[in-house]
């Protein structure tokens, strides 16, 4: 499976939320959401973070709520 890859960085493919059995993502939890916010402030895509689609949806909603409440930035640079 490893084979020759163009990208040397191999990201883990397990959904963090499934692994920790989280069923509700709280928008007030800045520390948790911060993991999915790269420097620019965008929402980290699933293909990089490995989050499953169910949790990505919950996560995106939570991040958007947090942005509205100025817990997370819309743009950061």
């Amino acid at each position: 499976m490893p084979g020759p890859r163009r990208f040397s960085v191999r990201r883990k493919r397990v959904c963090k939320f499934c692994a920790e059995k989280i069923t509700y993502i709280d928008f007030k939890d800045a520390k948790l959401l911060g993991h999915f916010i790269p420097e620019r402030g965008k929402i980290l895509p699933r293909r990089i973070s490995g989050v499953c689609s169910t949790h990505q949806r919950l996560l995106a909603e939570a991040i958007k709520r947090a942005r509205h409440m100025a817990i997370l930035p819309f743009v950061a640079d």
Binding site: A19, E20, K21, I22, T23, Y24, D26, F27, K28, D29, L32, R65, R67, H68, M69, A70, I71, L72, P73, F74, A76
Partner: protein, 134 residues
């Protein structure tokens, strides 16, 4: 009855007493509408992720309210007419929590069975410590 989580950000120019007064005022509003404030969580002054009305920080308060739509509508109206409230959000949480409970219950039922996914065979045993239970 529904459960709501209401978060608001108040201007840092307010004093602590004014903020407490305002929370008390909201409490009376909720009670007049047959609602109930289950929990008040005052985070104190926190820095904002971006400037709002030229302020860099604000008071964060989290209220857990039990009531119906009318209760929340009135609370939101009060927030809108109060100049010192910069941001607010109200989220209905009972359905999400119910869904979350349901998943957990289903999982508990399933738990006695052996997990047999080959990829998780070696790392399924040391279960990561559950940080939050939500």
């Amino acid at each position: 009855m529904r459960n709501y989580e209401v978060v608001f950000v108040a201007a840092p120019t307010m004093t602590g007493d004014e903020l407490d007064g305002f929370i008390g005022h909201i409490q009376s509003v909720v009670e007049s509408k047959n609602g109930k404030i289950v929990k008040i969580e005052n985070w104190g002054k926190k820095s904002l992720a971006y400037k709002i009305k030229r302020f860099r920080e604000g008071y964060y308060v989290v209220l857990t309210i039990e009531g119906d739509g009318g209760t929340i509508a009135e609370v939101e109206r009060r927030f809108r007419v109060t100049d010192t409230i910069m941001r607010f959000i109200s989220v209905r949480i009972d359905e999400d929590l119910k869904r979350s409970e349901k998943i957990k219950a289903a999982r508990r039922k399933k738990a006695p069975k052996q997990e047999f996914t080959p990829s998780s065979a070696q790392n399924s045993e040391p279960a990561p410590a559950a940080e939050s239970d939500r």
